[in-house]
Symmetry: C2
Subunit: 718 residues, 2 copies
């Protein structure tokens, strides 16, 4: 993220970047010439809702003639402060903010001024949260707000940023970049070791697989610790405990909470469970569709590449690649949308629960699309190829029927020992380059083309009119408005896409890199570019993301843990099966001894678990600056409160004066007797505790008891 600053600086700070006009958010409001009355009424409702939520608004011409832009900020500084104060108190109550909030509002904001991200988060909540919670309740593109196309932020100003990467784009995005940076640094080791392995040990090396697996444990456990440290450092630890309600949540009925008496929105857990169970058929459908597709292409590929020897072979070779390249992204998108709709139907109450459920499904889809080809090659084609090829005759018959004129020549089938390596090289090198092109280059090209088209259209429209119907922008705003209109057209930055890419890559590394030890080298190079292109993407080619807080990378952590563990099984199985000789697999399935394979996998897994246990224990013993800081702050807070409360409540030194006791004199005994008679001897309990008055009496009597009894013992012994 350090590069962001230089990115902006390189722009030479042109006038439209110099100010945001104090605008917090921009609403892009679509104009429909077919339903003009409805659009106008909707606009009125929008401005009214904003005003009621305490927001000020200004309207300007939008992009071309198809929209107007509504600029939003908080109407009164006082209202902003009171809301932010409320947020900070809530943070304190949930343990996110450790320092007890001052009761004097002005003093608070002197000590801890409102930062950009805090304000923007609050305004976004005012825009989107339901009306009964004091918000405007705007849900873009749905229901009442169907003409609201988007709500977005103006790109960040250098002057307003507080300098830290976590502040500018929110901790949620900052966590992605911190993760990517850590992952990149950690990759140096397997890259170096992988390169050395490739030179010395060759492919399918036991040592490489072992080291790689141990590395993945260390990285995973390290990151879990690092994550906590960062959360403390950024002041967001425990922020996931504060759950944001989803405005889209549909409840069955409202009920009074039996304990608190608060009205709570209830959605039947049974209904949700029923919807959740749809995940099982969903996963099966994914597996079936993608599996069938891969199997089909795979068979065609084998048939054409290694058996078929007829006409057009050089063209037909590309057939499976064309089918896959055309269908897989389409299918992935369809399944991704299906996952989104399924999660929507599961109807979660909070944003985090919704996101976790969606991430899980997206992970399943990606797991299947990414790794199925390699699984098929490693566990079906290589060991059972010779047994399966006869079934490919169906293609032969089809091919013969189509080209019935001449006889097909076929060559005898030979398992291609390099197939796995070719595939892994494709996925770790070629696919990464293609992906980079799609992700970083394509949007820029697309936007340039679209812009050109729009310009031509607008020009055409202008020609048809006599002068512009809409008043021109004021000169001092023109540059700013032009920039905002540009930004309105940009894509929304979705950090999940970037996470997904890295998690899938981690999977290749953990599961399959033993096939080709240069894979981590390729990943290292790719991630060097990725770090920069992602920073570029977020800064320039996307709308600025809403600076959400987060205290971890969330559900992706589980995905990483799963891949790391699964890698211990798969990589050991692959190495065992193929490490025999470098020319090909160990042989026919019968010659691979099943029990040895199972024993290998079993040992590998348990070794993995044992190492994980040890690493976890070791890291726990290590000094953690973040947790240490948090503990120290908490301790200080406790000490302050304790001191304050105790000062108010009880004297600090209530220890009674030590009674020195009196010498047992006749006068004292008489006095005692008098006291006792006055008290009427009291209860047996009182009498018990009055027998020896004061420390000295107890000591005297005790010593005399001791010496008498010791003497008696001595006599008894003698």
């Amino acid at each position: 993220m350090a590069s962001l600053r230089t990115l902006y600086a390189a722009d030479g700070n042109p006038p439209e970047l110099r100010t945001n006009m104090n605008v917090d958010f921009v609403i892009n409001y679509k104009i429909s010439s077919d339903a003009l009355v409805e659009a106008e009424a909707g606009f009125t409702q929008l401005i009214e809702a904003l005003t009621k939520a305490g927001l000020a608004s200004e309207v300007r011409r939008g992009v071309d003639h198809t929209s107007v832009l509504v600029f939003v900020k908080v109407a009164s500084e006082k209202y902003l402060k009171s809301r932010i104060y409320r947020e900070r108190v809530q943070d304190w109550l949930y343990g996110v903010r450790i320092k007890t909030p001052e009761k004097d509002v002005d003093k608070i904001f002197e000590e801890d001024p409102i930062v950009d991200a805090e304000r923007l988060r609050l305004v976004y909540l005012l825009l989107t949260s339901p009306k009964n919670e004091g918000g405007a309740g705007i849900t873009p593109e749905t229901g009442q707000w169907k003409y609201v196309e988007s709500i977005f932020l103006c790109t960040i100003m250098l002057s307003t940023g507080n300098g830290s990467s976590s502040g500018a784009f929110g901790e949620k995005v900052a966590f992605y970049f911190a993760f990517l940076q850590s992952y990149f640094s950690f990759l140096v080791f397997p890259a170096a070791f992988g390169f050395a392995s490739w030179l010395i040990l060759g492919q399918y090396s036991w040592l490489y697989a072992l080291v790689n697996s141990l590395w993945s444990v260390v990285f995973f456990e390290y990151w879990k610790k690092k994550e906590q440290d960062l959360a403390v450092q950024w002041g967001v630890r425990g922020v996931s405990r504060i759950q944001l309600p989803r405005t889209e949540f549909q409840w069955d009925h409202e009920a009074a909470d039996p304990m608190t008496g608060e009205a709570v929105k209830v959605y039947s857990a049974k209904k949700r469970l029923q919807t959740q169970l749809l995940q099982v058929p969903f996963a099966f459908v994914c597996l079936l569709i993608l599996g069938a597709l891969y199997l089909f292409c795979f068979s065609v590929e084998i048939f054409i590449g290694e058996i078929y020897n007829g006409p057009l072979k050089s063209y037909l070779t590309f057939l499976p690649t064309i089918i896959l390249t055309g269908l897989v992204p389409t299918l992935s998108t369809i399944l991704g949308n299906l996952a989104e709709r399924l999660t929507e139907a599961e109807n979660y109450e909070t944003h985090d629960a919704h996101e976790a459920a969606l991430t899980q499904k997206i992970f399943v889809v990606n797991f299947i699309t990414s790794y199925t080809p390699l699984f098929l090659s490693a566990f079906v084609y290589m060991p059972f190829g010779n047994l399966l090829v006869p079934y490919l005759d169906v293609f032969k018959v089809t091919a013969e029927k189509i080209s019935s004129s001449e006889k097909l020549t076929t060559q005898s089938f030979q398992i291609n020992p390099d197939r796995l390596r070719t595939q892994i090289i494709y996925f770790t090198v070629t696919a990464q380059i293609v992906n980079f092109a799609l992700e970083a280059v394509a949007p820029i090209v697309k936007r340039k083309v679209f812009k050109k088209v729009k310009e031509v259209q607008t020009e055409f429209a202008h020609k048809n009119e006599k002068g512009d119907v809409v008043p021109a922008d004021a000169p001092e705003e023109a540059a700013f408005l032009a920039r905002v209109r540009n930004e309105a057209e940009l894509d929304v930055y979705d950090v999940a896409t970037d996470y997904r890419e890295m998690v899938v890559q981690f999977g290749y590394l953990s599961l399959f890199s033993a096939i080709w030890p240069l894979a981590p080298v390729s990943f290292l190079i790719n991630n060097w570019v990725e770090l920069r292109s992602d920073a570029m993407k977020i800064a320039i080619s996307s709308q600025r993301p809403i600076p959400w807080r987060a205290d971890s990378i969330g559900p992706w952590l589980n995905a990483l843990g799963f891949l790391s563990w699964f890698g211990s099984l798969i990589s050991s199985a692959i190495v065992f099966m193929f490490s025999g000789d470098s020319n090909g697999p160990r042989g026919e399935p019968s010659s691979i001894s099943a029990w040895a394979l199972l024993l290998t996998v079993l040992c590998s897994e348990h070794l993995y678990l044992a190492v994980q246990f040890a690493v976890r224990y070791g890291l726990k013993q290590m000094h953690s600056p973040g947790l240490h800081k948090e503990r120290a702050e908490r301790y200080q807070m406790r000490k302050n409160i304790l001191a304050e409360t105790l000062d108010n409540a009880v004297e600090t030194k209530p220890l009674p004066d030590i009674p020195t006791g009196e010498k047992i004199t006749r006068a004292a005994l008489e006095e005692e007797a008098r006291q006792a008679s006055l008290r009427g001897h009291g209860t047996p309990e009182e009498a018990f505790w009055q027998r020896q008055q004061g420390m000295d009496e107890t000591i005297t009597i005790g010593r005399s008891l001791i010496s008498k009894m010791a003497a008696a013992n001595k006599t008894a012994k003698a």
Copy 2:
């Protein structure tokens, strides 16, 4: 624990049970007739230390002539209240107590009176915590306090108990009984199923092993949840966060904490790690010694029972049992002491860390002593017996040498298919009965005998003297003092011993019960007795335990989890190996297909893990009254604080009045121009937000923009 009340009631409430004389603790101070001066000086120091710590003391004659008893209570009610108030504020700061403590001390104790357990815990801390922390710093039987034999509590009074079992003996003990009760209830299911299996399926049943393993998952996960609920119900959730420093902790040096500036006691982590590493050789030594012993007895047993046919066979058969019965308990005790000393040397700072480390070692020792014989039988004797027996010739030769006169007759070796079952019956029935006898009956007998001996001794001593040298007890105290002298002789109740027994039993159930499905029936019966005998033990035949708090069963939970997981491996392996035919094992090792065994174990383990995951998820969805209550209380607390703070700090309705805007009239425009010129046009930002003043202007201008642009679009399209 319900039986405790009836137990006491059955006593008919004799006079010595009617009052505790307000005594909190009793110190048993030994008298040494050989070092009389030292003993007397020590006594003086003791009383002075007590007084300085704010405690009142009374001294009385002790047991016979060998000790004096020092009775202790808090000297001043005010001091007690201030200390307890401090504890409660600390509880609140650590999140254990949810209600914010009142600032008015008297009001607090009206609402929440001091309970017995609270006071006793506090007094115990005053007695034992270091002097610089306001305590008396007494460490029985060590250093300065070597004549302090013990510090104990008088048994509980019905009148002072607050009725709940958690209150009377502390939550630490209450958790044991709650665990035992839950475990007992859960055992009903495997007992019933086991009985049915025994009737219908016979031994080594797949179905039984599967159901048993699933049951153990459900029980374990259920208990984890139950534990939390109980902790909330008893108001001790999170209490483990408040760590009690160990008085025995030895520090290298004091250093200032870099963050808080507090002086902290530092012990080198490296030194501790070095000591901790001794655990590895310790475990090996345990395994070696006990393993060798078992192997030796095992071989002797096989040799005598199944090969040897010579003279004295009927006597020699008992030889291994005699060796084991004699040596194993001794060895266990020695290893237990070693474990204690090792933990002592690891020098932990807090009680919990010390206890966790000790528990772990004790578990290892018990694991080895309890399960090694069965492991040997199942995985060495049964599969490899025929191969190993020839090595037993060494015994034959020895035996022949000893009884050189006549020729030994030997019978040919046959693996005894019932051996495993005989063993498991021994461990689940015979050993439990023996254990019960040792645990419940022996101490009573022992005490009776000891008492008789002492009485005779005292009588003898009296005869040698002319009358008693020590004044007799006051009549109103005599009954009470007699009772306390009796209690001084009782054993200390150690809940760890009882936990250990149950955890070992759970291990037999989880690992080996597939051998003999009646095992859970035997455990059910045993635990019915155990529940009662443990209650009896704690109430009558032991000193009352100090009512420590706890929020879980602590380190034993990990032991249970480990056994449950390990059971999925071992029981599946056993069933696989022996389920072939009911007459014996599947055959020679070669005939057991190794890969099938491994596959079985692998599948069983992963099935176990998957079920665990599902059960965990399912239980998480279920309603938990405890957690619900806690959440509700926390919510209420937050709401109160929020309301209070916000009331003080900012007005609750700071939303500005909605400006209605003015009609755009000539007058208004002129006024605006005047205002602008007065302000000197301001910054571009100000100008931007002043273009549309008020909601109505924004709406008017927006609507006009929309209709103009829509019209333009229509023309363009046409």
